[in-house]
Point group: C2
DNA sequence: CTCGTACATGACCGCTTGGTTAATTAACCG
DNA sequence: CGGTTAATTAACCAAGCGGTCATGTACGAG
């Protein structure tokens, strides 16, 4: 029936959904990564992607990030200096925070497992330490 | 040109994008919230939404969560007991973590602002404390 | 075996998304 | 003024997404 209307209008435009949707694209995440190193105008942001996609495509991505509140686009003559805006990201992080125990639980299970393994070996090195949440990660 | 092909195939299917995309829907987030309180089968998960959407719709949402690795769907007779799987969520949280300074920066700016405001008033109550990251939030 | 329950699957539909090219606006520069 | 650079807008296209209904399947119970 006309349920799709209700959905489209009411459902999918809450800020959190917009934020997550904006993050659900590697191009957009890369742009955020670039912006995390400082202000940049549109062509700066586009540079790594030109050759793979056109400038209007970048403009579109940028618009998604902007309307999700993740970046702020200023203007100076013909340039649009963009800056990263942490606030929207914080909302998403806050949401995630409520689930932290779930990934730490599984980490703890691994921790317990590792302890049983190393218990049968020598007990030196003692790598205890509150080293939650692995490093790695670039993208 | 055939750029859309390259994109579709190569771009949008990385795990992180899938995870964020899965989170970009309030229905799906609500299902995760339900699962955070313990195992549930499909009709359990669907219950709050029936009347607003059909069962197949829920099945679809569930499939999105599943293929993003966020939930694991077991089977016991005709039931599919679903459980929340924290690992995928952790990957997303790790990504966010690299941007933490940006929302904490803005918090600090607010902090400074509040200090200048309260400085002109009385200096009692002293709400200093490392109370990062507001409470609120339900969804 | 038959029935009911719990889900999944398939075919369809309309909007959204991510991309394209071509044209347009806007500002600076000489 | 005319030209160049920066960026946006418009029109279009194919694929994806979120929903529908109808049908199909797998299992337990009587």
């Amino acid at each position: 029936m006309t349920a799709w209307l209700i959905n489209r209008v009411v459902q999918l435009r809450d800020p959190l959904s917009q934020t997550f949707a904006a993050l659900a694209d590697p191009t957009r995440r890369a742009m955020l990564a670039r912006l995390s190193q400082g202000e940049a105008n549109v062509t700066d942001l586009a540079r790594p992607f030109l050759g793979q996609m056109s400038l209007p495509a970048v403009t579109k991505h940028l618009k998604v990030l902007e309307s999700a509140g993740l970046v702020t686009k200023g203007r100076s003559a013909q340039w649009r200096p963009c800056t990263l805006n942490g606030a929207a990201l914080r909302d998403a992080a806050d949401w995630m925070e409520t689930y932290r125990r779930f990934w730490e639980e599984s980490f703890d299970r691994l921790d317990v497992y590792l302890k049983t393994v190393t218990a049968s070996g020598s007990s030196k090195k003692k790598p205890k330490g509150k080293s939650r949440g692995r490093k790695k990660q670039v993208e």
